[in-house]
Symmetry: C2
Subunit: 286 residues, 2 copies
């Protein structure tokens, strides 16, 4: 299945990937790297490329979901509130068969979770072979809010970067393609989105007074993200910073990153593990 | 949100519902009860009514997902192989936000599961408040294959019907709307679908030689289903038998049953649990 014509001018992955010398504060949150189009074309391209995503997801599932170990995709989503994590899950991941998707939303840790190492609650949610997993927030909370709010000692925060790299290297070794995405919005865009939630009765439920408290710590969070990128954007599990003031672009870009991961795996329809002619005969006799 | 114009002539629920004197062998598996249209209009209506399903699902989630107890929907899917359970999950349930859906596929029980009561593995998979749950196969396997293949003593099978009714009554009491669907295909239709799986390399993975073994026991399975309907179609958790030789009809019908369950709950956007004016002011000051 070849990629249909779209308004992508180039694969955005190299443009979005966090490499040497990356500076979060230099990202233009309204930009659309690699894409020459607007909201309207973006919606069309998202739908068109969903077919390709679907095809690849089904192949991945078909080839590996019964295996003990094997390839999987893990999309890690991190962002400030209102940046559009939910929309990615809804409109990008939601376009493929839910039977091949494992979602995990990590909230404030429970008492039991806090009594264990920070990766304890993460490990069981890693997608199994053949699956696309999505972490809506993740172990990175423990070096983001964990650092900004001083929920752990500085030495423990330090330790966690290495623990994360070891953990992710281990997953990559086992065949999990890790796609780490930070949806990058501007404080102004967040203000508009929070204001909308306060204006619409069908959006009140998405508003939490704590969102404003976190918003006041914006510069601290950006610093914590910068450190995360410097310490944990590895060959095995690189970070991608996706400009997200334009929701339609962020969705397109994450879709492309998932397509890249799946093309990389290049899953093939599995051969029959039975004798086709024998089975045709058995079936005909029924 | 009012239901858009469609080719439904009447709510199919009363036509599909298993009541007094129901006979499975009298169902026309190619019929389309309550629907005056064809595959083409069916596809269009499915898409149009998906918007309504989406809206209701989001309200349900918004109103209740943070509650300790509260309303949920549980769709139980049972059928012979190839009847289209996967297609329901993909095309009906797959149209709503995956963040509001909890899927559980019950396979052959593990050793550990067999060491417990048959409901042991089911209970933890009941959808939480605000969620739409789907059981792809279910506790009914234990009175279907369990009976046909004599995997338990007859007294134990007998006991299970009552245990199921008690379990489901308990769920209904807690606010779970249970929609039990048997997708009803003919043996001839199954033969065609299995043959297709043997003809297409992209379908081999869906074929299992065991499917033919089960197929040979068709009359026994139909008898077991008839008994299930007689013993477990209750006021709190009725069965619906959906003619499924036409996949497009089965999808439309299950969508309508889900819509009915959601309309019944009639979820409303929750009121703000904060002071809107105070929050507007706090936000403005940031």
């Amino acid at each position: 299945m070849s990629t249909p014509k779209s308004n992508w001018t180039t694969d955005p992955a190299p443009l979005l990937r966090v490499g040497e010398g990356f500076r979060l504060d230099e990202v233009d949150t309204r930009s659309t790297p690699g894409y020459d189009g607007d909201k309207k074309s973006g919606k069309k391209d998202l739908a068109a490329l969903s077919d390709e995503l679907n095809d690849l997801q089904e192949r991945l599932f078909a080839a590996h979901h019964d295996d003990e170990t094997g390839p999987a995709v893990l999309l890690v989503l991190q962002a400030m509130d209102t940046a559009g994590k939910g929309g990615i899950v809804r409109h990008v991941v939601g376009a493929v068969d839910p039977q091949g998707v494992e979602l995990a939303a990590f909230k404030k840790p429970s008492k039991e979770e806090l009594a264990h190492d920070f990766l304890w609650r993460i490990r069981p949610r890693v997608p199994g072979p053949g699956m696309i997993g999505v972490f809506d927030r993740s172990h990175y909370e423990d070096v983001l809010i964990g650092k900004v709010r001083e929920l752990a000692e500085p030495e423990e925060i330090e330790r966690r970067y290495e623990a994360i790299n070891d953990f992710e290297a281990e997953l990559a070794e086992a065949g999990v393609r890790i796609v780490k995405v930070m949806l990058d919005i501007s404080p102004d865009e967040q203000k508009d989105r929070l204001a909308e939630r306060l204006d619409r009765p069908d959006k009140y439920w998405k508003y939490n007074p704590g969102d404003v408290d976190e918003r006041l710590l914006w510069p601290d969070y950006m610093k914590a993200y910068q450190t995360v990128f410097e310490r944990t954007s590895t060959e095995a599990a690189p970070w991608f910073v996706v400009p997200a003031d334009r929701k339609w672009y962020a969705r397109l870009a994450v879709q492309r990153l998932l397509l890249d991961a799946l093309h990389d795996i290049d899953p093939q329809w599995p051969a029959a593990d039975f004798d086709i002619e024998v089975e045709k005969k058995r079936l005909a006799e029924t």
